[in-house]
Symmetry: C2
Subunit: 480 residues, 2 copies
Amino acid sequence: MTTQSVDPRTGLSFGPIFPDTSREQSASFITQAVDAYLVWMRTTTQDRARVLEALADALDSHVEELVTLADSETALGIPRLTGEVGRMTFQFRAFALALKNGISANVVDAAVDAPLPQGHPQFLKTYRGIGVVAIYGASNFPFAFSVFGGDTASALAAGCAVVVKAHPAHPQTSQRVFEIAQDALAKAGAPLGLVGLGHGFEFGATLIKDPRISAAAFTGSRTGGRALFDLAVSRPNPIPFYGELGSVNPVVVTSSALADSEKFVGAYLDSLFMGGGQFCTNPSVLFVPADSDFTSQLADQIARRSATPFLSEATKKLHDANREVLLIALKGEVLAGHAAPEAGFFSTPEVVIVSAKDVSGKDALSIECFGPTGVVITYSDASEVIEILSDLEGALVGSLFANVTDSDVPVLLDALSSKVGRVAWNAWPTGVSVTAGQNHGGPYPASTSPLHTSVGLDAIQRFLRPVTYQGLPSELAGLI
Amino acid sequence: MTTQSVDPRTGLSFGPIFPDTSREQSASFITQAVDAYLVWMRTTTQDRARVLEALADALDSHVEELVTLADSETALGIPRLTGEVGRMTFQFRAFALALKNGISANVVDAAVDAPLPQGHPQFLKTYRGIGVVAIYGASNFPFAFSVFGGDTASALAAGCAVVVKAHPAHPQTSQRVFEIAQDALAKAGAPLGLVGLGHGFEFGATLIKDPRISAAAFTGSRTGGRALFDLAVSRPNPIPFYGELGSVNPVVVTSSALADSEKFVGAYLDSLFMGGGQFCTNPSVLFVPADSDFTSQLADQIARRSATPFLSEATKKLHDANREVLLIALKGEVLAGHAAPEAGFFSTPEVVIVSAKDVSGKDALSIECFGPTGVVITYSDASEVIEILSDLEGALVGSLFANVTDSDVPVLLDALSSKVGRVAWNAWPTGVSVTAGQNHGGPYPASTSPLHTSVGLDAIQRFLRPVTYQGLPSELAGLI
């Protein structure tokens, strides 16, 4: 099998053909990565920070070239992709700063001279990179969640080596980012083979089954992610698998938030159709009061929205199949924007409207339509919202648009927080800041590891293995 | 099926018969636990600390009764069991103090007014109990790793409810601890059903498959632990599984540590045979210089050691089968203590001695002989030790007995730390302090979750799910 770029706007293939990475090449990448890990894990956090900063500088200096290339493969547009390169390099700098600030610093637990169980010798808790990490690039963020995305940044910061499987929707961007980074890594003195890059479906499976891989990170579809998760946990030595498998994000709107419904509907459609609706933090299910003019405003505004391209034919096919199931399950009214052109991989922007009373069973609302298809549920009473929320699967994020004095705020905040990893107040769920307080995760399927975040500084915790030294003399502290 | 206590010293059954917990009872425990969780997770950390302290006080006040009962079921002896009750209640007090000190406190990440990607709204990262946790009592610590052991203490501290499967080797102790604790929980105002207790093999499997269980913790055999792990990760919604599945712990001794070999050998045998050798931190494989008088001292001293009882017939059978495989695989010289009596479940204390040159393949050294059977490997050069260590599976702990000036210390510390979660300097691996710097975990099979510890304050992290609030107004801070 091979991979080649396809222009989503035309459906035409272009550029070099990438053969699938063979088993031998895969084994060789991992061998090199293991050797590199043994050097890299011993470097000081200051040295690692310096290398991460050099990577960021090198990638920033190629922003125009990278953005043009990525746009030809993903059709995400120049402004969005330019911002995303900035986010990619910001992540490397943020982890560099976090390392300097001691995010993985040792913890000293002084000896206590007392009888058991209070008394104990000195403990020095240290944190090291867990080993070689397999990382799977995502389709929808060709920079920020791909070869040198947040998973790679946090794994390298932790002291791990990395082998990445490129996403087939942007092989050239993956390869070019990799080349720039390899050059920067070599110049900065990082060990050879610290990061490897391969292509192909089989490569992804070969990688995760290799006994020398110590952890894996994935962002993508539920089917693909669960298959990799199953491989990771059925190994003779199972490994941590940090998978983000999709998310149906609830957004609850109270009457008081609809004072300017024209503006509100515009902001909703912007968030819903951002990146062609291909965001894991998409406002998937919006709850609005039935007695508002939200739906009439929506009908008016959506009619003026253009069709947007998918990232790939595969993304379109998956979306279209899920959309069909969703429409059958919900039996709602469909409001649509401009019809999708025949050429390329486009979809008509749509919103399905259904009354809370007519939503039965959780199955319909567990379908993630990864693309420009939204669901609006009209409700008469907050209790209807709570009941539907209680049936939802885990999600990355939930939003609540309300006034602080609304009487339903306590129960709604509570219901949302039980299902999601992040609750946004009067803010759309799209847009995930890379910062210390961020949490990008949540109950399954939002994450296969609900206690961890894949965005923000705490993402490094996924790759740090504690090793405690008991009673180590101070003369030997320099050895660890 | 039913469970009944058996005296390991005689092999005779005694006491009440515990019927297996039915599926209906299991479902009912979980229903009650879910309700209790929804109340308990909302309590303040101060309130939770108060309840944990009340539990500790109640259990302490029954120490004599509990120790007598546990000794009749486990034959671990009154002094050891008395200490273990102290450790059990210390754990509850330690988590109570940790809660008061803010171990699960919110993290405030202030808004940054700047363009993307630096700028962001305020984030408030909070931590809540993940839900209802299934906990599996261990055979070898009827208090500290059982119904109200460290897993229960850390899960309750995190704000979780708990359903425990009692270990069949001490059903009466499990039940009595549970009764005392239930009474204390009720008096302290904890929600009804916060902790449930059931019996039987099937109950264990039913529990982990229930979709309302959000995490599980296990300490025990590799076979049982892996079976439960496999159930946990093959659920439609997989859950975190914190399993400690056994550990072959390496201990490396250099010549300089053998100045007083008589005393050293005595200390080795004390650690090896402690609790009948049924410690997960047992000094499983000891590396000693070939040119020392260690083995002659060992031959002399082991001859005077008595046979010790196993915890149960099952423990004895598993040990005896593994011992047989080990002896065939190692082909070493066997030194033995007093022969085991016929009655009850005893084993002759033994040490197998083999030269490093004759150890081939990692399989022999991956066999955990859970009982009074040790392995001593004599070496001529540290490189032999390094090579064998590199073949070992992951372990909980490794010890190094040496002088700070020994030239091999750097490579030996390095080799040990790559395989274990804790490196003890000039100290036997047995004895695990409950403290902030502790790490009781390690690469598989030591732990199915190598980034987490099951002993010490960080054990609470296994059960805390982050929920971040974005842009929440200060007026609403009281709601979360």
